[in-house]
């Protein structure tokens, strides 16, 4: 079931709205004196497909990296599926906890640079974590990996290693690898930015397919505006470490309310 | 008591004398290695039919055999043919020649690192080859050579202990002599180790810093 994209009436009883699967509460991130995120409040509903757009350096990738625990917030609370991922007060030194490791199991990530393991075949890349992290037996993992490779249209490439594949193929394997861990939330960090233009389509097709056929929550940072408009339930415009505007794609792209959104879209849609 | 402090203090002056000999060997040896290495590198680069091949083989052979055995050869074999120096000179020559084989490789990669366009530009300007080498190629090659030279200097400082086997009285031989005459090895050997460390650790820190400063900019 996909959540309604209609704005909830203010009078709606609170318990009818689904509990958010991702919740950022007053989250800040500083790099020295540079504030990448400024006391961000941000929620994503279960199953929601959200695209994050904005100029580079606006902090949009930082959101994904904090969710994946690749970066530590300077302060704030982050909850995923009801569990606390981060709870940081200013100046606190944070250590990785068991709870953090368990919570992040619910999240998968697709990287801009694919980050496939170059010494392993496509198949080995996919079965590695299910076997060694989830403890799945090898036959089952291979069977599932074969299904996933078919899903991304690479059934015939399972014995190829990353150097033998095109960027588009590598990224599709990376998506299959992330799916093999059955995440509740899948993060996409500019999944097509490192690709040659003619290879972007094949990757977008796979993501589109996922968006339309699964109830997985998807959070995507992208520069592909048309694509974001097509597959998203909601689009969030980021600038300068803060969410400037958030709404259904039709509203953001056709009738943006904020001047900053208008100038950004004018600039990127011009060519 | 295992460690005799009075004894340890009493042998320090002797050990420092040994250290000074070690340092002299290192400085002279490095100078010889740097000069000879450059000579070998240029000879190989010039591709003179037989000579370049001989030099190449010599370099590989020296790198493939132990310093200790080379030292024995110079110390025991050469006098049989009427060539003999005192132990110190023999030591400096042996370690200098040994390291020149390594230095030749360093120069070679440094020379190779100079872009081909530099040679072509020199040719286009009709520069004579001595001028090309001296003013164009080598000054640029030296950038990559300087930090490596530092590394080999430190390595040689430690390796020179091997020369104690051919009766060069440097730090290691001094420590050993104190040990065998007093039947106490612990203090002189421990102090010798500490003296080696006291010189080589700060020196390698310094070279690391040099390395970063001289890192190729392209």
């Amino acid at each position: 079931m996909r959540p309604s994209t209609e704005p909830q009436p203010l009078s709606a009883p609170v318990d009818l709205a689904p509990d958010p699967i991702i919740r950022f509460q007053n989250v800040s991130k500083n790099w020295g004196s540079n504030q990448v995120l400024k006391s961000l409040n941000f929620e994503v509903a279960p199953g929601e497909k959200v695209s994050i757009i904005g100029p580079s350096g606006s902090g949009k990738t930082t959101i994904l990296r904090i969710l994946m625990t690749l970066e530590t917030p300077s302060e704030g609370l982050v909850k995923v599926d009801g569990d606390t991922l981060w709870d940081v007060s200013p100046g606190q030194k944070v250590r990785e906890t068991k709870q953090m490791r368990e919570t992040r199991r619910k999240i998968g990530m697709v990287f801009q640079q694919f980050n496939l393991f170059p010494h392993m075949t496509a198949m080995e890349n996919i079965i590695e974590a299910p076997i060694h992290v989830l403890g799945m037996n090898k036959a089952e993992a291979k069977e599932r990996a074969a299904e996933l490779l078919n899903l991304v249209g690479l059934g015939k490439h399972m014995n190829h290693t990353p150097p033998q594949m095109s960027g588009g193929q590598q990224q599709r394997v990376a998506i299959a690898r992330a799916l093999a861990m059955r995440p509740k939330v899948l993060l996409f960090d500019e999944p097509t930015s490192a690709l040659d233009p003619e290879l972007i389509g094949e990757v977008l097709n796979v993501i589109r397919n996922l968006a339309h056929t699964t109830d997985m929550t998807m959070l995507m940072v992208t520069h592909e505006m048309r694509f974001a408009e097509e597959i998203s339930d909601r689009v969030v415009m980021f600038d300068n470490g803060a969410a400037v505007e958030s709404g259904p794609p039709a509203q953001i792209f056709k009738d943006p309310q904020q001047e900053r959104t208008r100038t950004f879209l004018r600039a990127v849609l011009q060519h | 008591m295992i460690w005799d402090n009075n004894f340890a203090v009493s042998v320090i002056p002797l050990l420092l004398e040994g250290l000074w000999v070690t340092i002299k060997i290192t400085l002279l040896g490095t100078t010889l290695a740097a000069a000879l290495g450059l000579f070998f590198a240029i000879l190989r680069r010039l591709a003179i039919p037989v000579l370049s091949l001989v030099v190449s083989f010599f370099v590989v052979f020296v790198r493939g055999t132990p310093l200790l055995v080379q030292a024995y050869c110079a110390f025991f074999v050469l006098p049989a043919y009427g060539i003999s120096f005192d132990a110190f000179t023999t030591g400096v020559v042996v370690i200098g020649v040994n390291y020149s084989a390594y230095m030749a490789e360093v120069y070679r990669s440094g020379i190779q690192g100079v872009p081909k366009g530099q040679w072509e530009a020199a040719t286009a300007l009709s520069l004579p080859s001595v001028r090309t080498w001296g003013r164009i190629i080598l000054p640029q090659a030296v950038r990559t050579v300087v930090p490596m030279l530092g590394n080999y200097l430190i390595q040689m400082f430690k390796d020179s202990a091997v020369l104690s086997a051919i009766t060069v009285v440097e730090l290691m031989a001094t420590a050993q002599a104190i040990g065998s005459s007093s039947f106490r090895y612990l203090e002189p050997l421990t102090l010798a180790a500490l003296l080696f460390l006291a010189v080589s650790y700060p020196a390698s820190r310094l070279v690391n810093r040099l390395e970063r400063r001289y890192a190729p900019q392209h």
Partner: protein
């Protein structure tokens, strides 16, 4: 030349001892390299700091001093090592300290993205190292490891100074009893040279064997074979 032929059995025994010392200390060197190199990378200071001290001390002092210390100074603590043990320990620890820096450097230079991918897949640090980071770093480690091993082989000659009867020790014996210096020393120079050359060959064979693209080619051959089978 006659001395070389007369004493060939002695030289042969010396050669075997040299190879034994090289193999034993080479094995110790590898263990030390990974233990100290990985410990150096640990984020726990009480693991990385001792590893750092070990590496700097063993790299900062002479191998010969270390060997003599184990042989002559350790007895003052009531520990009397067999000469071969002292020799292998000193060689293994000394060259291991150099090789530890190779391990540390190769692993530290692994692309950050690989570690991030592992985290995203829920892989714990130990699993990351064992399955992903170390296997990928092997090709980068091999050439410098080869250099360390050639150094180790040449440095086995120092064990003759603590009375281990290796090739150099035997040559010295034969020299003092026959006075035939030139032939003996030239012979063992050539023997050492052949050994280091063989080590170089071994290293480059391993390099080809472990190269990443080599695995890719092997996988491709498997593919085309399967396709042929499918077509038949």
């Amino acid at each position: 030349m006659s001395a070389v032929i007369d004493y060939a059995p002695l030289l042969w025994q010396g050669l075997l001892t040299t190879i034994l010392v090289a193999v034993l200390s080479g094995a110790l060197c590898l263990v030390v390299a990974f233990a100290a190199g990985l410990a150096r990378l640990s984020s726990h200071r009480f693991i990385s700091w001792p590893a750092g001290v070990f590496i700097e001390v063993f790299r900062g002092t002479s191998l010969l001093v270390q060997m003599f210390w184990l042989f002559f100074a350790l007895p003052f603590f009531g520990i009397q090592l067999h000469p071969l043990t002292a020799a292998v320990l000193a060689l293994g620890l000394n060259e291991g300290a150099y090789a530890a820096e190779v391990v540390r450097g190769a692993i530290a230079s692994r692309a950050k993205g690989q570690t991030e991918a592992c985290i995203a897949l829920g892989m714990e640090p130990a699993l990351r190292l064992r399955r992903i980071i170390i296997p990928q770093s092997i090709p980068a480690m091999l050439p410098p490891f080869g250099n360390v091993m050639v150094d180790l082989l040449k440095n086995t000659s120092l064990v003759s100074l603590v009375t281990v009867a290796d090739l150099t020790f035997r040559a010295q014996m034969i020299r003092s009893s026959t006075g035939q210096t030139t032939a003996i020393f030239l012979t063992i120079l050539v023997l050492y040279f052949v050994l280091s050359y063989l080590l170089t060959l071994l290293t480059s064979w391993l390099e080809r064997r472990f190269a990443l693209d080599r695995r890719a080619l092997a996988a491709q051959r498997k593919d085309s074979k399967m396709m042929k089978v499918g077509a038949a």
